[in-house]
């Protein structure tokens, strides 16, 4: 609950039409895309000017009100669930692209700008912003930076952190802070922009970003390679990289996912195939032609039973149609879809796949796995019905087992979805106690009242 006078203070900042406290509205800000229980905020505010943000943050800090910033609410680890109630600050009206600099290849953009719209605006000026999370049609850049979002091009182009040159933000007292630079090289002081990346709104309220842009690849070639089993496909992934070819995209799909895609999207995949790889190389046309040939040869040498190299844009689109349909096809099989992103070193993918198979059998779970094989970022997707309490209990056990397996293989809890609420209790296991305490000291120093997105990443 927020008192009437406090509510009026928020109204004074953003106007009555941008303050919501009706039960029906609060319900629609109680969740994100993670399969976790919803928590209602006390109040939702939607600023449209940057100076309003600072005043909101200060008001929250002065009154010890938890503050959760929400962009599109598309994140998959509970980072935008207002787990301690309090205030939800909607960032989606702060969505201006302030500058796209072609000469120096950077852009300045507000936190609520939508990723795909930003990428399109940049592309219109002949530049390229590579991070492409699956949610890019709705996700905000603020959310991408806060969660350090990845995407299909991670293998060659990296993730969001590789493009953040500067972050401007409001500290918990509402002071406007600048960090980073528009220069390619900047080593001034602490690397605050990188501290902000992946901090999930626990350290400050980010407002604007300076993002690095790169020249777009001149050409690209895609192919789909079918394999009899997971092992041959996994070996091929390592063989491609070992041959010093770094595709921009190297995606994997297991037999169950292939069956689901074919059952729904009917794109002509062989349902008896053990697994498939979807590969794209890009760059200079000559390099693309050479690398595509090399990849094709490596696939064939490693047990690929069929390879389909796209001859034109239409065929290329067909290759990616299969990948785009993966989650949709799986999601339609059962009511609830638990999408995880346990990530392992590339060489450990076969072992991880074996572990997933064992987990599925042990907990009697239906798991389809697809994902970014090139960077070891797998998406085991558990299909279930959340209303079936017994089944969902097995799912929770299975998810724990997946994290355990990934960490046991020198992997990580999250390749691109963040930690949020879902994985905070595993943090010590991946790092160590001292490391978590170090992070907690940073958090306590910059947010002594624990106002900013409390409970996320580091738990209680």
């Amino acid at each position: 609950m927020v008192s009437q006078s406090l509510k009026q203070a928020f109204v004074g900042i953003v106007g009555a039409e941008n303050v919501m406290d009706a039960e029906a509205d609060k319900h629609s800000y109680s969740y994100d895309a993670a399969v976790l229980d919803p928590v209602l905020p006390a109040l939702v505010v939607r600023p449209s000017e940057m100076d309003q943000v600072g005043r909101i943050v200060k008001l929250c800090n002065d009154n010890g009100l938890p503050l959760t910033v929400r962009g599109a609410g598309s994140n998959l680890s509970g980072g935008t669930i207002p787990s301690k109630g309090g205030i939800v600050l909607l960032s989606n009206a702060l969505n201006k692209i302030l500058e796209v600099n072609e000469e120096d290849m950077y852009a300045v953009v507000q936190t609520g700008a939508i990723t795909a719209k930003f990428a399109a605006a940049v592309a219109a000026k002949g530049l390229f912003y590579p991070p492409d999370p699956g949610s890019q049609a709705v996700s905000t850049l603020g959310g991408n930076v806060a969660e350090n979002a990845g995407g299909l091009r991670g293998l060659k182009y990296g993730v969001t952190k590789d493009y953040v040159m500067g972050v401007n933000f409001f500290d918990v007292e509402g002071n406007y802070c600048k960090s980073g630079s528009k220069t390619v090289k900047c080593v001034t002081g602490l690397n605050i922009p990188q501290l902000m990346v992946g901090s999930e709104g626990t350290l400050a309220v980010m407002s604007e970003f300076i993002l690095k842009l790169v020249p777009p690849p001149q050409a690209a070639k895609s192919m789909m390679a079918i394999f009899p089993d997971i092992m041959t496909a996994s070996r091929t992934v390592s063989a491609i990289i070992a041959a010093k070819v770094v595709p921009c995209t190297l995606e994997f799909m297991d037999n169950f996912t292939i069956g689901a895609v074919e059952g729904f999207a009917k794109v002509g995949l062989p349902t008896d195939a053990g697994s498939l790889l979807l590969i794209e190389v890009d760059g200079h046309p000559a390099q693309v032609a050479e690398e595509a040939e090399k990849v094709e040869a490596i696939c064939k040498a490693n047990g690929c039973t069929r390879i389909q190299v796209a001859k034109d844009a239409v065929e290329r689109n067909k290759v990616w149609e299969a990948r785009r349909a993966a989650l949709s096809s799986l999601a339609r099989l059962r009511p609830t879809t638990v999408l995880e992103d346990a990530t392992v070193p590339r060489s450990k993918i076969p072992a991880m796949m074996q572990a997933l198979d064992k987990i599925a059998k042990e907990y009697k779970l239906t798991i389809g796995t697809f994902g970014h094989a090139g960077d070891g970022n797998l998406h085991p997707t558990i299909l279930c019905d959340r209303r079936d309490k017994e089944e969902f209990h097995r799912v929770e056990k299975g998810v724990d087992a997946i994290f355990e397996a990934a960490l046991g293989l020198d992997g990580t809890l999250s390749g691109e979805h963040g930690i949020g609420l879902a994985k905070s209790r595993w943090m010590e296991k991946e790092t160590n106690r001292a490391s978590v305490l170090f992070s907690k000291r940073i958090k306590a120093a910059v947010d002594p009242k624990n106002v900013l997105n409390p409970g996320k990443i580091l738990g209680e």
């Binding site: 919501m20 009706a22 039960e23 029906a24 509205d25 319900h27 629609s28 800000y29 109680s30 969740y31 994100d32 895309a33 919803p38 939607r46 599109a72 609410g73 598309s74 909607l90 989606n92 009206a93 939508i114 795909a116 949610s135 049609a137 709705v138 989650l327 949709s328 999601a331 339609r332 009511p335 609830t336 879809t337 019905d385 959340r386 209303r387």
Partner: protein
Amino acid sequence: MADLNHMLKLLNELDDQIVGCMRCGMCQSVCPVFAETGREADVARGKIALLEFLSHEMIKDAEAVKERLDKCLLCGSCAAACPSGVKALDIFIKARAIITAYLGLSPVKKAIFRGMITKPALFNNLLALGSKFQGFFTTPVNDIIGSSCSKLLSPLLGDRHLLSLADKPLRGNGTIDTAPGLSGLRVAFFYGCVVDKMFTSVGEAVLKVLRHHGVGIYMPVDQVCCGVPSLASGDLKSYEDLVRMNLKVFGKGDFDYILTPCGTCTSAFHHIWPLMNSGFSQSERETIAMLADKAMDINAFIADKLGVSKAEPAAGAKTVTIHDPCHLKKSLGVSGQVRTVLGANPNLKQVEMAGSDVCCGCGGSFNLQHYSVSTKIGKKKRDSIVATGADVVAAGCPACMMQIADMMSQAGDRIAVKHPVELYAQTLG
């Protein structure tokens, strides 16, 4: 209050349907209302969360849920784009019926649906009267579009630029019942309320096309509204009354197809009647299924069943751009056929607008309840149309034609708004 068991059944169906929502939020990228308001309760995911609250915890604040549920165009964009195949449109229609059954129908809607639309004789007479006297209350503003504005301050009409009621409704032709000609086909013609009373030229064009191609016509004048406006307001009783009246008229099924020139009416026959049929008897449900199989949009019928040849645009041809109505493209998958039909007119050169399938913002009663948001969405559509430099915009849905006409007339544009079948009919002798 509707039958409680019926409502409980709907509530259970709702629970089974909403559980499929992954809450990924992808519906945000296509929802025209969310694009204007940025509020989660205005997009499918937010509404589904509210409904989960409704069905799990029973009804604590049904008024608030209703208010937010009503703020939806029922355009189906979210369902068409949903990765996990959640049928949001079906969910919202059922939810509106449940909430209205619980809260009761507003007096205004009761008067409109139960006092007027379900009483066809009275409804037709009232609008005939309106047609006679409309000139006293309106002033013409745009001769190309044929729009007028109200002379009087009216909270219902506001600043809208309106199209006139026809001097004589289409039903004034009397019942038509002819045998198949050269085509060997016979169709029932369901013209829909707006074509009957406002766009009679669209109805006349349909008749001309059918006669030209030797298609037998069954056009009964005792047909009534398809029921979608009642259902969209959650009034199951009026909806079922109207469907029953139409089942009596078209129940014999002595025709190959039942055609409409309205995406929403076709969608009603094809999709909504079978979806919302639990209040009907077994034999009525069978008739509904028969009509669903035979229902077809006029553009699809011309392109897929009659077949037309593409004509090369003549010198000096006018340019036409095409708006793809939501129910026509997203619910029925009809869009290429519209282009085929228009391609048969040598006096037209097609030019695509950006976002041809983006909703125009009408949404039936949404336009009345949320005119400000409706107008913001409509203005974007108007801008897309104007940017093409077209002389004509074609839309296969009378409601979209009204909304687009309002937007363009208010902006002073001199672009004609036509139904594709009108433009096709121009090519026939």
